[in-house]
Symmetry: C2
Subunit: 146 residues, 2 copies
């Protein structure tokens, strides 16, 4: 809704105008962000972003999330090296959800070694694992786990 004469707040020339970006206020400062494989369309994971992580994602071209449990920026791949190269960013109609189309380095987004964090299907009998891990988490993260 920015008028033609308005200036982006605190933004450098190449960044999206504040009025045309995610409305982080809607989520109390954080919004859900979906990572989708840019080639296959597979949904890899869901995480959250705050304004700072979103800005760093735009600036670096790598997915940066906000970890609610650790209360800090989470540069995806910071431990494993399995970064996500962001090919495209979409916003939803309400500006309160973010979709990243990414190239997942290392082949797996999930700390369990599965390509997608959504590797379990809901069935009448419970959860069924429907994907095979592409790596052993202990080799990637060490014994301390994800």
């Amino acid at each position: 809704m920015s008028e033609a004469t308005s200036q982006p707040v605190g933004a450098k020339s190449a960044e999206p105008r504040a009025a045309e970006g995610p409305d982080f206020n809607k989520g109390g400062g954080i919004l859900p962000a979906i990572a989708q494989d840019a080639e296959t369309g597979e949904v890899l994971m869901l995480a959250f972003m705050n304004a700072e992580s979103y800005a760093e994602t735009l600036a670096t071209g790598r997915a940066v999330y906000f970890s609610r449990s650790r209360n800090r920026l989470w540069r995806k791949g910071e431990e494993s090296g399995h970064v996500q190269l962001v090919r495209e960013i979409r916003l939803d109609c309400d500006n309160d959800a973010i979709l990243l189309k990414v190239e997942q380095i290392g082949g797996a987004a999930c700390h369990t070694g599965h390509r997608s964090c959504f590797y379990r299907r809901v069935t009448d009998g419970g959860l069924e694992v429907v994907e095979t891990p592409v790596f052993d988490p202990e080799h990637v993260y060490g014994k301390k786990g994800g």
Copy 2:
């Protein structure tokens, strides 16, 4: 966080436990739910579910969300008729995000008439609309809008 001596995660664990499901407590009662086109893989929308909406989704095979703004169940398509037939449900590794693979009746998930709510791409110059609406919202919802 599993230690070396604990039972390996995923190994021979394809045997589902009936009690497994989304952990709604993690999200203070609501969790993000992604609707993805079961055929094309397109991410259609992101909404939220509470335990009641999840249970109704399982029971009816139609996507039911929880509307935070209206503070009530939101049976997707209740106004438009554009329901989502749920073909598969996936849970993520932390049990705090839900992925629905759906057949979108009416061809569009978004109240704007676009197939996907993520119809705008972030560019250096702002947001760019990259999809064409498949219906006129006024014909579907009337003049009051979505």
